[in-house]
């Protein structure tokens, strides 16, 4: 509601939404919106900034918003103001294709279910198109994936596996009316509560990536006990038994383990057509509502894939998040780069919000001064961000000899000590004198 008043106060341009068509997708744990908005400039001045807004009843759950005109993406700032590439002249119209994703809008209701129950979810959206401007026509459809609903607002009608909301005409900016659908949704409600990613760079030709993942099933929590016997006879339900993680095509030495040890229930294959490695993970136990799991995935990648150099300047370009599973959501994100010894002038560039923390130091094999560890922290990173990070640093290439020289000098000390002790005199009796009396 507070966001609403802010929107109303920002009406400075005389724009009108001529035609709005919205399609909601509520078949997974995320509420995805795809809207086509035709905007007309009814004012006397040309307009180059359009105020967009998230759905009135889901505004705080917005994790992604994107607007396109034709094929060109518009720049959107923190207040959801979209900047047009060419200003909209008075009397002209422009069609925006807006994509939004909300996390937490598909709410499990009831919030606790028994093992054999199916999961029902509640979705509430604004019947009117949420906008500070007047709208002439607005239609909306919610895809729910099932042909029946538990309950439905009077303003909606079930057609096939979608709910068609009433068409609304000529309403003012800021109009809102809740439309709700209560239906069955057994799709996996998997959220990565925490991801710790570590990228270790070696100038001997390897980048080692380790991903520690903490996941949680955020659907309706399981009430009562879990029966393995009943579970073995269950075909469909809101539980999660497996998911697929995508790794780079050139990834090798992949491991999947947790605190207990290696987890063998997985399948790894290379998909040359899609240019990726597919890892199908089956955790040790199925996940029901409220259950958590923790595992580590690690792999090696040849340095040429991510690391590039120009004289003594190096650039490491890495996808900031792994593709944990289809449409992944990460709540707390931690990233560490372990750079070789002797690295200076570390800098970075990202395409998403990331906070750099103070550097740390790590001592590992053949280290003397410690490796620089660059630490980052982020929040709420999702698949839509396509998060990438590029770290640049300077490194003198003569330092490649430091490690072999350290190993050689270690062995040299060993041999010299041996040589020294071999030449010492250990006899305890006086040496046999040369002038032994000849008998």
């Amino acid at each position: 509601m507070r966001l609403y008043c802010l929107l109303l106060a920002l009406i400075s341009a005389n724009l009108v939404n001529e035609k709005v068509t919205r399609v909601f997708d509520a078949t997974t744990q995320l509420l995805k919106t795809s809207a086509s908005v035709q905007i007309r400039n009814d004012g006397k001045a040309s307009v180059s900034v359009i105020q967009l807004s998230a759905d009135a009843f889901n505004a705080d759950k917005l994790i992604f918003l994107d607007a396109k005109v034709g094929n060109k993406k518009l720049k959107i700032d923190g207040n959801l103001k979209a900047s047009l590439s060419s200003p909209l002249e008075p009397g002209q119209t422009v069609t925006l294709e807006i994509e939004e994703i909300y996390h937490g809008s598909v709410k499990p209701f009831p919030t606790e279910i028994k093992q054999a129950d199916k999961q029902l979810v509640l979705v509430e959206v604004n019947l009117y198109y949420t906008s500070p401007y007047k709208t002439e026509t607005s239609t909306a459809k919610i895809n729910i994936g099932t042909k029946k609903t538990e309950s439905l607002s009077k303003t909606g009608k079930l057609e096939g596996s979608a709910v068609k909301l009433e068409e609304k005409k000529d309403f003012e900016g800021g109009s809102s009316q809740k439309s709700r659908v209560h239906f069955e949704n057994n799709s996996p409600f998997l959220v990565a509560e925490r991801l710790e990613r570590e990228v270790e760079v070696s100038h001997w030709g390897n980048v080692a990536v380790t991903d520690k993942v903490w996941v949680k099933h955020t659907g309706a929590t399981l009430k009562g006990s879990f029966s393995r016997f009943d579970f073995q006879r269950q075909d469909i339900g809101p539980f999660i038994t497996e998911w697929t993680m995508i790794l780079p095509l050139v990834a090798k030495d992949v491991y999947y383990r947790d605190l207990i040890g290696n987890i063998s229930t997985s399948a790894l294959r290379q998909d040359y057509r899609a240019d990726e490695t597919v890892l199908e993970l089956t955790p040790r136990f199925p996940m029901f509502g409220g259950w958590r799991n923790h595992y580590t995935i690690g792999y090696n990648v040849p340095s040429a894939t991510y690391l590039s150099s120009d004289a003594s300047k190096y650039q490491l370009k890495v996808p900031a998040t792994p593709e944990l599973y289809n449409e992944f959501i990460i709540e707390n994100y931690f990233l560490k780069f372990v750079l070789p010894e002797g690295v200076t002038d570390v800098d970075f560039k990202t395409n998403f919000e990331l906070e750099r923390k103070p550097d740390e130091s790590r001592y590992t094999f053949l280290d003397t001064t410690g490796r620089t560890v660059v630490v980052f922290e982020g929040k709420d990173v999702s698949f839509k961000h396509a998060a990438k990070i590029a770290v640049t640093y300077n490194w003198n290439s003569i330092l490649i000899f430091k490690e072999p020289l350290l190993a050689i000098s270690g062995w040299a000390v060993f041999f010299l000590v041996l040589l020294f002790f071999a030449r010492m005199d250990y006899s305890i009796s006086a040496p046999v004198s040369a002038d032994k009396k000849k008998n």
Binding site: H203, S303, S308, D310, L366, E403, I408, L418
Partner: protein, 76 residues
């Protein structure tokens, strides 16, 4: 600034072969050095020969150890 993909100074596919031969040379020369130290009597040994043999063994063992680490996946 044009960046080009960074490759290791030594081809990683060769790491196991290089490690193998370096370790053979290293262990061989180390063994020769040890045996010489324990069998030969003091007056026959010369410091310069012992020292150079020790250094050769150190070089081969050091490099062999490092390439062995690279072969098994400890990318130092």
């Amino acid at each position: 600034m044009t960046f080009s993909p960074y490759n290791s100074p030594v081809d990683p596919a060769m790491y196991s072969t290089i490690a193998f031969f370096l370790m053979i040379a290293g262990l061989g020369s180390s063994a020769y050095f040890f045996v010489e130290q324990v069998t030969k009597s003091k007056n026959v040994r010369s410091l310069s020969r012992d020292f150079s043999l020790a250094m050769i063994s150190a070089v081969f063992m050091g490099l062999g150890m490092m390439f062995t680490m690279l072969t098994v996946g400890i990318y130092v």
